[in-house]
Symmetry: C2
Subunit: 436 residues, 2 copies
């Protein structure tokens, strides 16, 4: 049986304004923090119809930040700089950029009043160094920050000294904390981009997300039938991620929507059963959507995934309507007392076995009164493997009113990747049941 998902309308994008992103912060280059701004900003811009041409991370030193901004202004129409706007001494981006553009910094009284209000509302004294955040380069637009003290700044660069004869550019500076940067982008940068850089050439991008097929097997199946469309301008991208492969179909120009639509028909015909979603879908979101539309519920019993599946499901807004709860049963005692797994089953087959997975799932389903239950038990490693059951062995059980099925997998990855792959496989097992 082959199930093909109906695909949503294309996000029609348009492009060719040159955009570069500069993430400042020595902690990024020391590997102390993960750079989540890159993905978030790139995706937001791509959803609006733009694409980022280059992203750079530089340390918090004057020379590196100025060199990065100079180079970016030499190529791009829009340069977005993140970080270094806070109140502490390594927050030097504002000063460096004003200097680079030859603009004076002026105390903005409205911004200063906002910062004072921020501290007053939270009944905290305002540390003295916070006033530097109210210094604004002349000619800049202040981007308000409802979730913090450092406002963002948008500076028109015209003439652009680093691209003589080039068009007017914009330099946008955003604060480093994601919970400040994200709402600020949506409220102020998004309208600025749409106003200053209206879309020109059509650009269509469709991502089909697959689960259960390898990257090169996938390409072998779809590439030859897509060759004619590639000649007509289709770009195909393959991206192998943990437990899944994305196929990205891109076209530009007046026929873009038709080219991508034709390509999608081909991919769906050849690989439809593996396609679990589109574009920004993730597996947990697809599961919550399917359960919601069927008004059914899911319970979980997790051993080796340790709450990872429940966490993925509850990251989806609206999960509460379809998810009564989960048992994370790491110990054998918890498997017995919480889920009713029998002592004899544990003794006869071991905690990592098809039989225990089955009893875990059935126990969770009954005890939480759910339509479906998934259970996983396995060896996440790095220790605990045996010759018969090496590290990475996992049993996944799915139960419903019509019975229980169990799959065995070997996911020999490090601990966190093991959890991710196992979660993807368990949810894919349920997805096939739900659409079957």
């Amino acid at each position: 049986m082959r199930t093909v998902l109906a695909s949503p309308p294309f996000p029609v994008e348009t492009a060719r304004v040159k955009i570069e992103l500069i993430n400042t912060g020595s902690e990024l280059l020391l590997g102390r923090v993960l750079n989540t701004h890159q993905q978030w900003l790139c995706r937001r811009l791509s959803d609006l119809g733009y694409s980022v041409d280059r992203q750079v991370a530089v340390p918090d030193t004057g020379a590196d930040i100025q060199q990065g901004v100079r180079e970016a202004l030499g190529r791009a129409d829009l340069v977005i700089v993140t970080g270094g706007l806070g109140p502490t001494s390594d927050d030097i981006t504002r000063d460096l950029i004003a200097q680079l553009l030859g603009k004076k910094l002026i105390l903005d009284k409205a911004v200063f009043a906002e910062i004072k209000r921020f501290f007053a509302e939270r009944k905290r004294p305002m540390p003295a160094n916070n006033d530097v955040q109210a210094m604004v380069p002349e000619g800049a637009t202040v981007l308000p920050n409802p979730f913090g003290t450092a406002p963002g700044l948008a500076i028109p660069v015209s003439p652009n000294p680093y691209r003589p004869g080039g068009p007017k550019a914009w330099l946008v500076m955003l604060p480093g904390p994601p919970r400040e940067l994200r709402p600020m982008f949506d409220a102020t940068v998004r309208p600025l981009v749409l106003r200053e850089f209206p879309l020109a050439e059509a650009f269509v991008c469709r991502t089909l997300r697959t689960s259960g097929v390898g990257e090169s097997a996938l390409q072998e199946r779809v590439a030859p039938p897509l060759a004619a469309l590639v000649a007509a301008g289709l770009e195909i991208g393959y991206c192998a991620r943990v437990g899944q492969v994305d196929v990205r179909l891109i076209a530009r120009g007046p026929n873009a929507a038709q080219v991508v639509s034709d390509a999608e028909v081909v991919v769906q015909r050849l690989l439809g059963e593996f396609v679990y979603g589109f574009d920004d879908d993730d597996m947990a979101g697809v599961i919550v959507r399917l359960l919601t539309s069927k008004q059914q519920t899911l319970a979980l019993a997790e051993s080796c995934t340790g709450g990872h599946i429940a966490n993925q499901i509850t990251n989806v807004s609206g999960a509460s309507a379809v998810f009564p709860g989960a048992y994370v049963t790491y110990s054998n005692a918890a498997k017995q007392s919480n889920l009713g797994v029998k002592a004899e089953t544990l003794a006869a087959h071991g905690a990592v076995s098809a039989e225990v997975a089955r009893e875990m799932a059935e126990g969770a389903r009954v005890r939480l009164g759910a339509d479906y239950a998934l259970a996983v038990t396995g060896i996440a490693g790095p220790t605990g493997g045996t010759r018969e059951k090496p590290v990475g062995t996992v049993f996944i059980a799915l139960t419903s009113a019509t019975g229980t099925e169990v799959q065995q997998k070997l996911n020999a990855y490090e601990r966190e990747a093991f959890k991710q792959v196992t979660t993807q496989q368990a949810l894919e097992m349920l997805r096939r049941k739900l659409v079957g």
Copy 2:
């Protein structure tokens, strides 16, 4: 009371070889995937005593990849390129770099045999396009890939055409999938770096991780007493992350260890009670370590965090010795049946209340026979808030043989940040109890 953690020995690092990192992949610039290579590689190099000077992400197009590599070779001694080595048509990095360096690609028979063996072992047919992965630029060292088919490559660049008169450079190419890249780096790139770029000047970096104090309040307390050490060469970095602030102390040269050690004494004296760990510690790892040393156990009852706390705890290898399990009780029925929360308590106070948090914690502790239990109940949003209990309201209960305490917080962040902040607060509450 003030508790000061004993700090571990310094990771003494040394630096000044120039290193640049280039991440290739259009999916990075479309925001379709998160770039985890940057943090991982930067941290690994920093742990070895090196620091990365710049990181760049470029799309999968010939011009962008070649321009990125040319610019990096113009500045750096070691250039690490990730991605684009796979078998599919957008995997073009190998060809582009060979072309850029004027080197021929030659079929490496040993690599080809390895690829064939990889498929044979897994009893999968070898797709025809896989042979491109056995093409090796002349003079390159092959970096074996035990976890995939695309080997890595290390190419000596001497003379370096993009830095005339400069020293010999190395160009290292690594495959994109993290589960292939990471073991390959440790097995082959690490020894290459240590051999080719022996350490020169001492470089000491200490990160103190704090929880419960704001970024500018923190700087206000430590910056003035550290001024003399800054004059002696100390660099201080502050990094605000979700629910915590890191203080990074760096020094270089012969006195580096002394300068950083003196600075750390000052920070510990002023902020010691907020310091939960050092360098790569995370809160869950600290909690598992503390519980392990005391031979005590922790149970969890999670409502609004939906398994996030359990997932963090079980990401730590060795968690099974201290963590019997967790209840994720999203529905009121699950809170009653799984944890023994009373119907009257739910009716009188609502599911998001101090009283329910207390009963959840006490129920989880008794039912899992643990020394401690943490429970959280709150409103993650985006909907469900009221005037008395706005979105972000959360109650955290900690119970042990000596009684139960409950804290109320307002974490008005988007859903995933809400879970992270709440997890950090709950574990910090337990940490203070464990070290108290």
